[in-house]
């Protein structure tokens, strides 16, 4: 963490909203990528970004610099996104219980075939990601989307590098298995 960022954090801890705005400008895309990586939906990802920065403003007083600030922000983003999916699952389950199963429209939207295939594949990927256990999903997103190193992932996830490698390995294997038939390269999954 550089001096400038330390000052920003200090100002934000004193309730300076301008400082929060600067932190927002620095981290909004990173937070958005994590959120989108988890929920795979634009509006939901933007809601999560909003929630993360409000939470950050509320809790930044507890940040004592014991870990890098970006790992603090990443962890908050990931936890918020995963909580969001849990809430969403709960809500969806209860609304389906009340109103019966959702019926997709009979007539699909008219769009070029290529886009349809891409969209289908994207939906398959989204479905496969949703099936991963939360810790494996987090490892896959930190690595494949954010490009964090194993060391950074271990710090962010609060575990050893060995655990990070294990989560990543099993997450990738599971995804390869779930997406078999949709990928050009079959691999060994």
């Amino acid at each position: 963490m550089n001096q400038e960022e330390a000052e920003l954090i200090s100002r934000c801890q004193k309730g300076d909203q301008e400082a929060l705005k600067e932190i927002f400008d620095r981290y909004r895309e990173k937070v958005y990528r994590i959120a989108y990586g988890v929920v795979r939906h634009r509006e939901d990802a933007l809601d999560i970004v909003q929630e993360v920065f409000v939470k950050l403003y509320r809790s930044i007083g507890n940040y004592r610099g014991q870990s890098s600030f970006y790992t603090y922000v990443y962890r908050m983003a990931m936890n918020t996104a995963i909580d969001f999916t849990r809430r969403r699952k709960k809500f969806t389950a209860s609304s389906l219980d009340e109103e019966g199963a959702f019926q997709p429209p009979d007539v699909p939207e008219k769009r070029p075939e290529a886009i349809l295939i891409d969209k289908e594949l994207e939906e398959k990927v989204n479905g496969a990601m949703a099936k991963l256990p939360e810790d494996q999903r987090a490892a896959v997103i930190y690595r494949e989307v954010e490009g964090l190193s194993y060391q950074e992932m271990a710090q962010t996830m609060g575990c050893s590098i060995g655990t990070v490698m294990s989560r990543l390995h099993y997450g990738r294997k599971r995804l390869q298995k779930l997406l078999k038939g949709y990928m050009k390269e079959g691999g060994r999954a």
Binding site: Y32, R42, V140, M165, L175, M183
Partner: protein, 171 residues
């Protein structure tokens, strides 16, 4: 899977992630030149990365966060707007007396004063209310007669002054 694939395959993730040591890189690199199955596995892992990351990158690139900051600001402001109870509490907590928690001993002293008030009033009580009935002046003595109400009974006091102006001792 061939026996020779076992070790390189375990290192494939590290190799892809750029976390392998030089020795491990050499081992995997040499193996990949000979083994098509492991090469396919590496390609599959790369493809998986593209499938996961590309939609996210595209979404992030298109996003200009038009209203997110305004919503954050609004939410923070709304949460900061205190209810009447909170504002009362805050106002009280701003009082220097209450902030220093002087109010605890102050309250104790106030209770003591209230409890001791009847005794204090007895000791330092002023003369009972009195109404003068007659006042007679002469050259040598003055006489004042008044009624004093002490409790349910009324006392008649006759006060004799030896000289005018000397009202210090009733007789």
């Amino acid at each position: 899977m061939k026996d020779s694939c076992s070790r390189p395959l375990k290192l494939l993730g590290k190799y892809l992630d750029g976390e392998a040591t030089d020795q491990e890189k050499e081992l995997v690199g040499n193996h990949l030149r000979e083994c098509q199955a492991c090469q396919a596995e590496l390609n599959s892992m790369k493809e998986l990365r593209t499938l996961i990351a590309t939609p996210v990158e595209e979404a992030a690139r298109q996003e200009d966060f038009p209203w997110v900051w305004q919503k954050i600001e609004r939410q923070i402001r709304a949460q900061e707007k205190p209810s009447w109870l909170q504002s009362l509490r805050e106002r009280l907590s701003l009082s220097p007396f209450l902030r220093r928690r002087v109010w605890v001993p102050a309250l104790a002293v106030a209770l003591l004063v209230v409890a001791a008030a009847p005794f204090l009033l007895k000791i330092t009580s002023s003369p009972a209310a009195a109404s003068v009935v007659v006042y007679v002046e002469s050259q040598t003595n003055n006489v004042m007669v008044y009624e004093s109400e002490t409790g349910p009974e009324t006392a008649v006091v006759i006060w004799l002054f030896e000289e005018p102006g000397d009202e210090s001792s009733p007789t």
